[in-house]
Every structure is written in C-alpha cells, then in structure tokens.
C-alpha cells in the first residue's frame, strides 16, 4: 500500500492546496513541499527497510478494469526506487524554486506541478501497460497547462508542440501495447496488460519490430533523440524554472526508464536488430546537441542542447545493454538530472540578478558574486564530466560498455564528450570571467539558496566519489532486466582490446 500512498500523496496535497490556496497562498506552497519531502522520505524508507518479497522491493496488485485485463499493478525495484527518490528530491527543488517565482494563481500552479509529479511516480512504479500509459499521459496535461499559463514568451507554441509530439508518439505506443496484448492472447488465451505476464511473448519478428518501434517512438520523443528533439529547447525556454527542473531533471529520465523496463525486455530480438540504428541515432544526437550547444548564448537554451547531447549518451548506454553501460546509464541519469536541475535554478538566479540570462549581457560574474560563481563552476564541471563528479562515472561506464560493442561509435561519442568540455567552458568563460558589465546587481546567494545548491552539489560529488551504494542498489534490477532478455541483446565477440586488458570476462 505504501506504493499507492506514494502516488496519492502529491495528488491529495495538490487538491487540498488548490482549495485552500484561494485564502492564503502559503497553504499550497507548504503542502506541496510537505508532499515532495514525504515522497523522498517514503522512498528512503522503502530503500532502507528489508524487502517484502523478491524480485520486487515492494509490490501491490489491485483489480481495476478486470474486463479489459487491466490491473493496478505497482512494484518497485532498485532502479525505479532511485528514480522515485530523484523525483522526490527534484520535486522539492521545483517547489522551493517556484516559491517566489510564482505569485499568480498559486494553488492551481502547485496542483498541476504535483499532478505531473504523481504521474511521473506512477510511470516509475507501474507494471501494467495501461496503467503505465495512463500515468505517462497524466503528466502531459499538467505540464501543458504549466507552460501555457505561467510560461514566458512563445509559451503557447512551445506547449502545443510539446503536447503534439508526445501525444502522437504516445498513441503509437498504445497501439503497440494493444497489438502485443492481442498477440499474447491468441497464443496463451490470457487477455492481460500485465508486464510480467507479457514478458515472454514472442510475436513474429516483423510484427515485433513494428511494435518495438511503437514503444521506441514514445520513449525517444521523451528522451529527445535527434529527429524528434525539436520540442525540447522551446519547451525548456518557455517553461517557468520549476517546470524546466521537472522536465529536464526527471521527465526525460522517464524515456530512458521506459526503454530499460519496457521496450527492450518486451522485444529483445527486435531491440538487438535495431541496436545499430539506435546507437547511430545516439551518436548523431550527441554530436548534434553538442555542436548546437556551442552556438547558444541564452543559458536555458544552451542547457537544453547540452541535455540533448547527454541523453544521446544515455541512449548509447541503453542499447549497449551490458553490465557496465547499464550501471553507467543509471548513474548518468541521476547525476545529469540533479546537475541540470541545479543549472536551471542557477540560470534563474542569474536572470533575477542581471535581468538577463544571455551570455551577451553577462560577464565577470565571478568578481561580483563569488558564491554563486563557485556553485556555477562546480555544476558546470559536473556537466562536462570531470572525474570526481557523478556524470564522469556515468559517462565513463557507458563508454566502457559501448566500447566492447562498437569501438567506432564509442570513439565518435567520446568526441561529443570532448565537445561538451568546450561548450561548457565557453559559457563559464564568457559569463563568469572578464570585466563585470554595468548594471549587474551584486547580490550573492542568500543563505537559503546556498543551502539548496550545496545539497545538489553534494549529491553529485557523492555520486562521483562513492557511487557504490547506488550501483549496489541497481545491480539486482539490471541483472533482472538482462535475464528477461534471455541472453539476447548480449553483444558477443568482445573487442580485442577489451579482452587484452582482461575486462572482457564479465558481460
């Protein structure tokens, strides 16, 4: 039942805050913070207490629409737990950021924010395809409203683009789900949308490939892989900061999670056949995002393209599908989520102080705001993958895993990571060094802001220096996922270099 509570708390707090918010806007704010913090606390509680049953840490099955084979099946393992924790953490950050940013219709704002978070938690917990789909769509409408009502210029276009992209790909996924269920029904006579039951279904290869592509479309759009990325920069720039934090920090990760949990284990052969294409797309995404990030002057847009580039790395790791790359993907998702969220908050702080978050108007921030600049430097170093930071561990493991599969692809991806150093240092250089510009208020971070950023930076450092607890938490889930693909999707023939160094054994 604790899992139902996890989804229920944000929704209830949102509704309550909306009702009470008419009198006093402090209510929705306080309730929202309490809700996100309790999600975090419940997540930690699940992680620290011994599991109830295997293979899931916690599991609940309730009937929902039995006539259609749809059930309320929620379960959590290490992978989903970490993402729920990320949701709780970044949800709290978003709530705190919105505290002063949003002064208009506060109750409704927090209702939408919390509904989106509830949808996300549902996505990470659902083990029934239709329940998953409902949660997947449930987060769209609140985000749409958040962007259109509280966003900045060009918000309507950005919001509509966001919704159309995700909806079209979502419907393709729904179609694939239905087709899969009917194939399963024809073979076994059991009509169910339950993930565990559907795992062994083997549709004919041609059909399986189409179904796999349906799932892949939905997740690729969320992960903004290159041909379907164009909604992302617009949405990030137009959205209020709190929403950018949720979008870039958590919602993207749902795309990678979907690939890991659903698309590949349900259709291992198709995934294997498709892997070269996916890895090619990953490389294109990495390089394309990096090259465009080089030319951006607006901080939020720059972050969007940097995010596109990094999610390319995640896609590469997912399709390399071995121990190293998968562990790397998880660390990368967490570290990138926290780092990007921190940078979005930072862009907002710069904007508040200098009335602009455009590099052409900035300069010499280091001399006027040392504390803010120190945080900026740490976060940017994390983004470019400096050793000691979480992103480094993630990217290193992904590249290590991918190298065994395709040295060429890995080399190209590494090129993108070099570019990431260039575009990050360029921003740092132009914005923070040099002579200060006129008209910049020199108000450094307040104590509260420092504390918030310190928490984020601390977690990134922790992920970089002691990733072992996280790796240990996800290892069983990754083993299960790889078991589900029953030896497929394992790239045989380790590259000679890897074998030479003696790394080839465990894969």
């Amino acid at each position: 039942m604790i899992l139902v509570t996890l989804i229920g708390i944000p929704i209830l707090a949102g509704l309550l805050g909306w009702m009470l918010g008419r009198r006093n806007p402090a209510w929705p704010r306080g309730l929202a913070l309490a809700a996100t913090l309790s999600v975090l606390a419940l997540g930690l509680y699940i992680g620290l207490t011994p599991p109830e049953n295997t293979p899931w840490l916690r599991q609940v099955r309730l009937p929902w629409i039995p006539q259609l084979g749809v059930g309320m099946h929620l379960a959590v393992d290490g992978l989903s737990l970490l993402l729920v924790l990320l949701t709780g953490l970044l949800g709290s950050v978003a709530v705190i950021v919105a505290w002063r940013e949003i002064t208009d219709r506060v109750g409704f704002f927090y209702f939408n924010l919390l509904a989106a978070l509830a949808g996300l938690i549902g996505v990470f917990l659902a083990l029934d395809l239709i329940l998953f789909f409902c949660c997947w769509e449930l987060m769209l409408v609140p985000v749409f409203l958040l962007i259109t009502i509280w966003g900045q210029r060009q918000r309507h276009e950005a919001a509509i683009k966001f919704l159309l992209f995700t909806q079209l790909s979502g419907l393709l996924m729904l179609l694939a789900m239905l087709a899969l269920v009917f194939v399963h029904w024809r073979v076994t006579g059991q009509f169910t949308f339950n993930y565990v039951a559907l795992l062994g279904t083997m549709p004919p290869p041609a059909v399986a490939m189409l179904l796999f592509l349906g799932f892949f479309a939905a997740f690729a759009v969320k992960l903004h892989i290159v041909p379907v990325h164009s909604w992302a920069p617009d949405a990030y720039v137009a959205a209020p900061t709190a929403v950018s934090v949720v979008l870039a920090g958590i919602m993207l990760k749902a795309g990678a999670y979907g690939l890991l949990r659903f698309a590949i284990p349900l259709f291992p052969q198709s995934a294997e056949a498709f892997a070269p294409v996916a890895m090619g797309l990953a490389v294109i995404t990495i390089l394309y995002g990096a090259v465009l990030a080089l030319g951006q002057t607006e901080l939020k847009r720059w972050l969007a393209y940097a995010g596109i580039s990094h999610m390319g790395v995640a896609l590469l790791g997912v399709f390399a599908w071995n121990q190293w790359s998968l562990h790397g993907v998880v660390i990368l998702l967490l570290a990138h989520g926290i780092g990007t969220a921190g940078l979005f908050v930072l862009a907002r702080m710069v904007r508040e102080r200098c009335n602009s978050a455009d590099l052409r108007d900035l300069g010499g921030l280091w001399s006027t705001m040392p504390r803010l600049s120190a945080v900026a430097m740490l976060l940017m170093l994390a983004l470019l993958g400096l050793p000691g930071m979480g992103t480094f561990i993630g990217e290193f493991l992904v590249l290590l895993g991918a190298f065994g599969v395709s040295p060429l692809v890995t080399a190209l991806a590494a090129l993108g990571i070099i570019l990431s150093a260039v575009y990050t240092l360029r921003v740092l250089y132009r914005g923070w060094f040099g002579p200060p510009r006129d008209g910049q208020a020199s108000v450094d971070l307040s104590r509260g802001e420092t504390a918030l950023m310190a928490v984020l930076v601390g977690i990134i450092l922790w992920l970089g220096l002691f990733p072992q607890p996280v790796l240990r938490a996800v290892s069983p889930s990754i083993d299960d996922l790889r078991m589900a693909t029953r030896g497929l999707m394992v790239m045989e023939h380790p590259a000679p270099l890897v074998r030479l160094i003696g790394w080839g054994g465990e894969r």
């Binding site: 009937p63 629409i65 006539q67 409902c134 159309l164 393709l172 179609l175």
Partner: protein
C-alpha cells in the same frame, strides 16, 4: 400484441405518452414550468421503465421492432441525453424569453423517433423513425423565429432530410424488389445486383444523416443556425438513433473484403481526416464541434467492420456513451454562457473563462480532454476499447488513420483549452448558474470522470445487457 409486448415497449410508450401529456397540458394552460416538469418526469419514468423489457429481451415486438440488449442500451442513452437537453433548455429558453411549451413536445418526438430507429428491425420502422426525428427537428431548428441563420438552417435540414428520405426509400424499394421482404434479415440472402445497389443507396442515406464525408456539407451550417440546445440534440440524440440503425443494419451484411466493407472503410477514413482537418481553423465552437462530431463518427465506423460481435458492440456502446456525455457537456457549457444577445459560439467568448467562471471552465476542460481522448476521462476508455476492437480485427488502415487524425484533432481541442486559460480582457458580469443546468453539468462531469477512472462497473453492466443480444 400481448402483455410481454407492451412491457417490452414500455420506454417507448412512456416517452410517447409524455409527449401527448405535454400537448394536453398546453391545451389546458400554457406554462413553461409545467411543460418542463412533465417532460422531465416523463423521461425519468421512461428511463426507470428500461428495466421492464429486460426480462423478455431479446424480443421482436411485431415484425417492426426488436428490443435486445444493444437497443435497450442505446434507448437508455437517447432518453438520458434528451433529459440532459431538456434540463439545459429550461434555463436557456427562460433567458431568451422564448415560449417553451412546444419545444418540449418536439424534443420528446425527436427522442421517440430516435428510439424507434434504434429498435428498428424492419425497413418500415427505419423509415418511420427517420421521419419522426426529422419532422420534429425542422420545428426545433427554426424555433427562434426571428433568427435569420436559424431559418436558413431549418430549410437546409428540410432539404437534406428530403434527399435522405428519397435515397433511403429508393434503396428499400430495390432491396424489396430483390428479396421480397422488408426485414433487415432479408439483406443476407439476396441474389441479384439490385441488393448491393439498394444497400449502397441506404448507406448513402444514413451517411447523410450521420454526416459522413462526403455527405457532411450540411452539418456545420445546421449546428451554427440552430440554437445551442437543439444543436446538442442533433449531435447526440439524432445521431445516436441513426448510428444504432446503421449498426443493426450492417451487421447482417458485413463480410470482410466485401464492397460494403470497403465503402465503410472509405467513409471512416475520409470522415476522420476531413472532419479533423476542417476543424483546425474554426473559430466558431459550434462549427468546430460539428466537424469534430464528423471525425468521432468516423472513428465509430471502425466497430461496424470489426469481427468480434461482442467486443464490437461493447466498443460501440462505450464510445457512444462517452461521446454523448462529452458532447452534451461541451454544449452544456456553451448553453450556460449563451443569452439573449446570441449563443456563445465564438472562441472569444471563452477567453479567460478559467478565471471568470472556474467551474464552467473546469467542466469544459474535462470535456475537451475527453474529446481528445486523454486518460482518466471517458474519451480515453472509449478510444481504448475501440482500438482494441480494431486491433482484434486487424483493421490497420482505419486504425492508423484514427491515431494520426486524432493527433490532428488534439490540436484544435488544445486551442480552445488555451483560450480558456488566457488572461481575460474584460470582466463581464458573471450570471448565476441555473439550478437545472448546474445539476446536469455536474452529473455529466462526474460521468466523464467516473467512466474514465473506474469503468469496471459500467463495463459489467454492459456485459450483462449484451447477454440479451439478438
């Protein structure tokens, strides 16, 4: 006609008797309130009497009508939708200071016609039902006598209905010439070319009534010209009856790959795309809803060609229910915003509604999301069941058309949604919500959400009903 026959016909008899009762009441004393109360009570009684035919279902009452589970479900929807329109019309007519009494008589006649259409098992009943609906609707569309567009729409509908009747009658004549019978069942055993020709003409006639592309040109003008409650009536009650008739009629002749099947697929795909594309640039909400209804009935045609009878029937009923709830809700909001200055059918009338009248905007939001098929609303469950039925029958072409065109559709629903949440320009005085309309809207909102969040009991009810299939 014996005892069981009368029991089987109870809902129809009660509705027809209510119409007579309203007429008699008008003869005694003209009173809007009295006419409304008699109508509402009569319709509620008719809804309650739906339980009576169940014991004898499926039962043919005379050769003309057949009361089975599907028919009863559609009749229930028709009666509920008529009740909803009556509740909305009460406040609307009072605001416009229109004489209300005859309105309810015509309203009830439309309902009777639609029920007969849904129960028809014989071409004579089909024709009778169609004509009863049409004749009552002429009067309703032209009800605002001074209104130029209204009169134009009434004339247009008159011409349309005349053309439809001609097509249908000619089709029936051809079928009779071939099979020598007027029963629907006769369609299965014709042996000359006259039969397909007859079926084709019938299909064209019904396609005119349901406004499938390319027979759709009348519908936006008629919606725009008719007053908002009447447009709601055309969109729900009249279409429900006609669709049920089409469904009953085509089941007996539909074979995969037959020419009828191909024609239906063509109608479906065209309706989905053309309906949604034409709605894209609409600024008039009534016309927009007209085009969106074209697309929705295009989606519904998928079930007519699906293989599995039970699944298809459930899909049809769930979709019709969701469509009726949602369309009535959207029109209901429009009716609440309409006053003597004109109907609130322009997009600008909805600007900033969320900050002026949050409850109405909330209802409208739910209805738009449901029309767009977003989860946790009735529209999603309906689309889900519909897609299941299509995937089961492997109708890939119409299904892909459905998916693509419903994303096109999403765009214009979103545009209305955006308008609702834009900053308002001026603050017009907000009128209080009339009691009857408020109750109807609340029920519709709850229905849409309940069906979207926990549809299991409703599905159980349908399964139970469909054990009485013909």
């Amino acid at each position: 006609m014996n005892h069981a026959d009368y029991l089987s016909l109870a809902p129809l008899l009660v509705t027809a008797a209510t119409a007579v009762a309203v007429l008699l009441a008008i003869a005694v004393r003209r009173s809007h309130a009295a006419a409304f109360i008699i109508t509402a009570c009569g319709l509620i009684l008719a809804l309650l009497s739906l339980g009576l035919p169940l014991r004898h279902a499926p039962r043919g009452v005379t050769p003309l009508l057949l009361m089975d589970g599907f028919t009863l479900a559609v009749i229930g929807l028709v009666l509920a939708a008529t009740l909803g329109v009556a509740l909305f019309a009460h406040g609307y007519l009072a605001r416009l200071r229109l004489a209300g009494d005859e309105f309810y008589v015509l309203l009830l006649l439309v309902a009777v016609g639609a029920c007969v259409l849904a129960a028809a098992d014989h071409f004579a009943a089909l024709f009778l039902g169609m004509e009863t609906t049409s004749i009552a609707l002429y009067g309703l569309i032209g009800y605002r006598r001074g209104h130029r567009l209204g009169l134009e729409a009434a004339i247009k509908y008159l011409v349309l209905a005349g053309v439809t009747s001609a097509f249908v009658l000619f089709g029936i004549a051809l079928i009779y010439a071939d099979t020598g019978s007027l029963l629907f069942m006769a369609l299965a055993n014709g042996n000359s070319l006259l039969l397909p020709a007859g079926i084709g003409l019938l299909l064209v006639g019904l396609a005119f009534k349901l406004a499938f592309v390319p027979f759709h040109l009348w519908i936006p003008d008629v919606y725009e010209g008719a007053s908002a409650p009447v447009a709601a009536l055309i969109a729900t009650v009249a279409k429900l009856g006609a669709f049920a008739a089409l469904f009953n009629l085509l089941w007996s002749v539909m074979q995969p790959g037959s020419s009828v099947c191909i024609a239906v697929i063509l109608l479906a795909v065209l309706s989905m795309f053309v309906g949604n594309l034409l709605a894209l640039q609409q600024k008039n909400i009534k016309r927009l809803l007209a085009y969106s209804s074209i697309a929705h009935f295009g989606y519904l045609l998928v079930v007519v060609i699906a293989e599995d009878v039970l699944l298809a029937t459930i899909a049809a009923l769930v979709y019709l229910t969701a469509y009726t709830l949602t369309t009535l809700g959207a029109f209901g909001v429009m009716i609440q915003l309409s006053n003597a200055d004109g109907d609130a059918d322009h997009l600008e009338a909805y600007r900033g509604l969320a900050w002026r009248r949050p409850w109405l905007a909330g209802v409208m939001t739910a209805m738009l999301l449901s029309l767009a098929g977003i989860p946790l609303t009735a529209g999603f469950i309906a689309k889900f069941v519909l897609l299941s039925s299509g995937v089961d029958a492997q109708l890939w072409l119409p299904i892909f058309a459905l998916v693509i065109s419903s994303v096109i559709g999403l765009y214009y629903y979103l545009r209305i949604l955006l308008t609702l949440y834009r900053a308002p320009e001026a603050q017009p005085a907000s009128a209080p919500l009339p009691f009857t309309g408020g109750v109807a809207l609340a029920v519709l909102l709850l229905g849409v959400l309940w069906l979207g969040i926990y549809p299991a009991p409703f599905l159980t009810l349908l399964e139970h009903l469909l054990t009485y299939l013909r």
